[in-house]
Symmetry: C2
Subunit: 284 residues, 2 copies
């Protein structure tokens, strides 16, 4: 992202006090008349998962299975939302401190709801309007109401796919803590990084690179017990659905040169041989 | 509020870790099979202002005056939203710890926007749905997009009035840090508490109790310099608009027996002489 800057100085947008000290004075000093401040950056939407937030509250109470009339589920719904919105706020603040005009848009409050776990409603116009106003909307996996189950957990992966379907971004990047998708758990020393996955008309996906001959193995995917939304399985199948729209998806390790290339859109026409990650593409 | 309880034990709904200790274990223990847990309380909406949060960020950057294309306003918009959503989360957590199934619904993300500072859109169905699902929606004064100004500050008082118009509650309680509305700043030792204010068909309001003869004075209202949304003036005029709908409004000091009476709805048919506060009513 090409961030707005003033004499290459960062314009902090989190003016909250930290340890009793507000950084508003230094921030305001940046806005003087001499300042050639331009807010000129790519149009972006950020969607984050719950990480260590939310999953525990959700799985302990069974929010993902519904049944809002049960006290435990109801309490878990409240507890899950508190946990994921706490994380959302921290992410919004971290982005704002870097001068990114981020706006938290918790899906529950943005009118997202599901029916049998499929997205039934979502205020996409609000997301579009925030982007048009020059903001970066920050959504997240959330506990939502479900028409048939009462409630469930809407994963960030499903949100990304729904946004992609309607907002038609140029590309989608999944940031994760490993280099990409492997043929088995990446902790396995023999795990092979899948460099390219092709999705066909029927939504079926197959590994293109490395070539199946060189692998000659079944892809094995596991899901962590606490993950209420399907872990890597959901991630890949949602990514495949996005790719089917003709939108390339990059699954890549956060905070690496590989993810930076993906985020900048540098991989759209040519993927260099030294790039490490997984690209999921529609094979016409 | 008649809270759900289990053997008179509180059911905490904030399972976040505090100082590294999660209270989820003790909370989960409350949900055993023996538990006669009932969630049976009044249908409520909570709207809070910004207090020491938000006002400073908003007034320093002029978010209330609009002009989102100016870097300072844009940064202030982001900073204001971070500040008010931080407060919202703290209030949601405080309520959840007391067993109240509260759900944060920040107006910006709930689709509230304005046109020339008047509410232009608001997702009231989301608020109604949350109430119907047994939750207590918690809204707040927020920075929002404005069709003509670009952006502005939507005060909690205006939100309450808009909700009252559409959800038609039995009564509305404004909790504040003084006993009610006075005829001049309550710090003035001669300030007189206005016990009853009548609103007529034209929306004009007049003091009924104490009787004008016994006061024989003009009511004087001041607004704090940092208050971007009009302070007590906005509060009273919005309260008058609510009263005009035939909905009684009580302005009362928080955390007193007087506010408890108001919140419980005990004042609807008869206001005891020892009750201290201001009631604003429609005089037909």
């Amino acid at each position: 992202m090409n961030l707005g800057s003033c004499s290459n100085k960062l314009i902090g947008m989190d003016w909250s006090k930290r340890d009793g000290v507000s950084d508003i004075s230094s921030s305001l000093a940046d806005f003087d008349d001499q300042c050639q401040f331009t807010v000129d950056f790519s149009r972006f939407v950020v969607v984050h998962g719950a990480g260590s937030f939310g999953h525990f509250q959700a799985s302990k109470s069974g929010v993902h299975k519904g049944g809002l009339n049960q006290p435990l589920v109801k309490a878990g719904f409240v507890a899950t939302r508190i946990s994921v919105t706490t994380l959302n706020l921290e992410i919004v603040r971290a982005l704002a401190r870097e001068g990114i005009p981020s706006i938290g848009m918790p899906p529950y409050s943005c009118g997202w709801s599901t029916s049998e776990r499929n997205v039934a409603s979502a205020d996409l116009s609000g997301v579009a309007k925030a982007i048009d106003s020059g903001f970066i909307p920050v959504l997240h996996g959330d506990a939502v109401l479900d028409d048939s189950l009462g409630c469930t957990i809407l994963s960030g992966d499903v949100i990304i796919r729904h946004l992609a379907e309607h907002l038609r971004p140029e590309y989608v990047v999944f940031l994760t803590d490993v280099l990409g998708v492997y043929d088995r758990p990446p902790t396995d020393p023999n795990a092979v990084l899948l460099r390219e996955i092709a999705v066909d008309e029927d939504g079926k996906w197959s590994v293109v690179k490395p070539t199946p001959q060189s692998m000659n193995k079944q892809v094995e995917i596991t899901v962590a017990a606490h993950d209420t939304t399907g872990g890597m399985v959901t991630k890949i199948s949602e990514a495949a659905l996005i790719a089917k729209l003709g939108i390339d998806v990059y699954i890549v390790k956060a905070a690496t040169s590989h993810s930076l290339k993906a985020l900048k859109g540098e991989l759209r026409h040519n993927i260099p041989d030294d790039w490490l990650g997984t690209v999921i593409r529609f094979s016409r």
